[in-house]
């Protein structure tokens, strides 16, 4: 009888302790689940190393070993401390502090054991760490008509990723503005331009590609592009206008006007 009582007490104790643990662990799990969703987007000032997978995939793949950081010859990359603006332990850099030097042999990608930095990236010019955006035209010196040009000059892909486009200066009425224009098909997001911008706060900033780029609706068809693709217009060409003239009369569109046979 006392044995049964004892085992009952033991069983009660076990069940209560287990329930308590499951509740506690569930709470931790819930909190962590919510936190992990919030931590899924990288802060806007932080950039991933070249070849990094899309942020969500990157956070599944990166084992936080720091091999890329140790192999970076310029000490640009660092591992996120718990208070940094990137998921704990993941590699990142801040372009305004120190931009990527774009090594030709891409040692950081080679060092990555888990392919979080994609090994298929072999040409550094193909990397897309972010996209430079001339975000503040009101302070950019070139937009004021000055010839700062620093972002253009430091760009490793000068005249490809950043070009200077001259337009008329409507303020002075007699000069040109040379506007820095970033081309997303060439910009690697290395951050040299943001780093070099002479303003107190950079007017050109490297943003995550997903933030910087718009996207046209998939159902959109641009006529001139479709025409180029097809090699001809896709709509039936307009038939030449004809006047309904009496016999013996013609109309010459080139300028002759009414022509009598």
């Amino acid at each position: 009888m006392s044995n049964t009582a004892l085992s009952n007490t033991a069983r009660r104790r076990f069940l209560i302790e287990t329930a308590r643990t499951v509740c506690g662990v569930s709470l931790v799990g819930f909190g962590l689940g919510v936190y992990s969703q919030n931590a899924r987007s990288l802060s806007i000032t932080s950039l991933r190393p070249p070849g990094a997978l899309a942020e969500k995939d990157f956070l599944a793949a990166c084992v936080r070993c720091g091999l890329c950081v140790q192999d970076c010859p310029y000490d640009i990359l660092k591992l996120a401390d718990i208070i940094d603006q990137a998921a704990t332990g993941t590699p990142f850099f801040e372009a305004r502090n120190i931009p990527c030097e774009m090594c030709e042999d891409i040692p950081c990608v080679k060092a990555c054991p888990s392919n979080a930095l994609d090994k298929s990236l072999t040409n550094i010019d193909d990397s897309r760490m972010g996209l430079a955006v001339l975000i503040d035209k009101e302070t950019c010196l070139n937009f004021q008509g000055l010839r700062c040009d620093v972002c253009h000059r430091v760009c490793p892909l000068i005249n490809e990723a950043i070009t200077l486009e001259p337009i008329h200066n409507t303020r002075s009425k007699k000069h040109a503005l040379f506007l820095p224009v970033v081309h997303s098909d060439k910009c690697t997001g290395c951050g040299k331009c943001e780093h070099a911008c002479v303003l107190e706060q950079a007017a050109i900033k490297v943003l995550p590609v997903s933030v910087a780029k718009g996207q046209i609706g998939h159902h959109y068809r641009l006529g001139w592009k479709e025409k180029e693709k097809a090699g001809q217009s896709l709509v039936t060409p307009d038939s030449e206008h004809k006047y309904n003239l009496p016999e013996g009369l013609n109309y010459d569109h080139a300028g002759e006007g009414l022509v009598r046979d």
Binding site: E17, A60, V63, G66, D71, D81, I83, P113, S114
Partner: protein, 296 residues
């Protein structure tokens, strides 16, 4: 940092002090050496070892990867690379041989803090009710896999104190490293062996390797046990000692998967009850237990 229990009342020790701290000294040497190698290699440009305990590269050729991370990454939906797979295989084989929780007691730097906290608890006679049950860690282990699967990221690694501390010490991220102090205080006041013995899912994961671990501790000389309880007072996983020490029907080999092979029981026992052996060596100093066959 060397910790010890000197609260034995029943036995006056005659052994040389080096014998009483042998395994502890070896263990601390191992922990500090591994940590130093990781910290110093980048400074000296010798690159003996790169990376950290999550994943590393030895002599620029041999990859090592923590299997716990690999499995989380797998659950998060990332396709595993050959490098990581080879690294994991090497690490797994090692722990299958020496015992899974050798990671905890011979490698992990957190253990130094929690051992010290445990020692201080005994010194200061801090007694507090156990707040956590031993299986908490397995629930957390399950949660870490479940969260990786649901969130598609290594969710647990956002907060895992073990990897955060290791990374903090190795990469010099001082706020991360400061977490070591938090764990120390936690273990000192919350309850005995609170972190390593109850909560840590990394330890729980490595415990699973312990089921097959070849190197084991054996209470081969248990007939000399004089019930001084020294081994119980230092052991971070006391539940593994009980079945082998007093129950002479059992094999003397400690097969509890939570045993960390730390060897503290060997150090503190003045009767030389324990020794390091393999899991198939069921011999004892008495005649009570001969038939090894019955365990195979």
């Amino acid at each position: 940092m060397i910790t010890a229990s000197i609260n034995s009342t029943t036995s006056q020790t005659q052994r040389h002090w080096l014998l009483r701290y042998k395994w502890l000294i070896l263990r601390r040497t191992s922990q500090f050496s591994i940590l130093s190698l990781f910290i110093l290699s980048p400074m000296t440009d010798s690159w003996f070892i790169k990376g950290n305990l999550s994943s590393s590269l030895v002599l620029n050729s041999i990859p090592l990867t923590d299997p716990y991370l690999l499995i989380q990454s797998f659950f998060a939906g990332h396709s595993v690379t050959a490098t990581v797979l080879i690294g994991t295989a090497i690490v797994s084989l090692f722990y299958l041989t020496v015992g899974g929780r050798v990671y905890c007691s011979w490698v992990c730097p957190v253990n130094i803090a929690t051992d010290t906290a445990g020692w201080l608890r005994r010194k200061l006679k801090i007694k507090s009710a156990s707040l956590f049950i031993k299986s908490t860690r397995y629930w957390l282990l399950g949660i870490s896999f479940l969260l990786a699967f649901i969130s598609g990221t290594l969710a647990w690694e956002l907060v895992n104190p073990v990897t955060i501390i290791q990374r903090g010490l190795i990469s010099g991220l001082w706020i991360s490293a400061l977490l070591l102090l938090v764990i120390f205080i936690f273990d000192l006041f919350m309850s005995r062996d609170a972190w390593c013995g109850h909560i840590c899912p990394v330890g729980a994961f490595y415990s699973l390797f312990g089921r097959f671990g070849f190197v084991r501790i054996s209470a081969y000389n248990r007939q000399d046990c004089d019930d001084c309880m020294d081994c119980y007072s230092v052991c971070p996983e006391q539940q593994v000692i009980k079945p082998v020490l007093k129950n002479t029907d059992n094999s003397p080999v400690i097969t509890g998967i939570n045993c960390t092979n730390c060897g503290r029981c060997i150090d503190v026992c003045d009767k030389n009850v324990f020794k390091v052996t393999n899991r198939f060596n069921h011999s004892t100093t008495s005649n009570e237990f001969h038939s090894q066959e019955s365990f195979q």
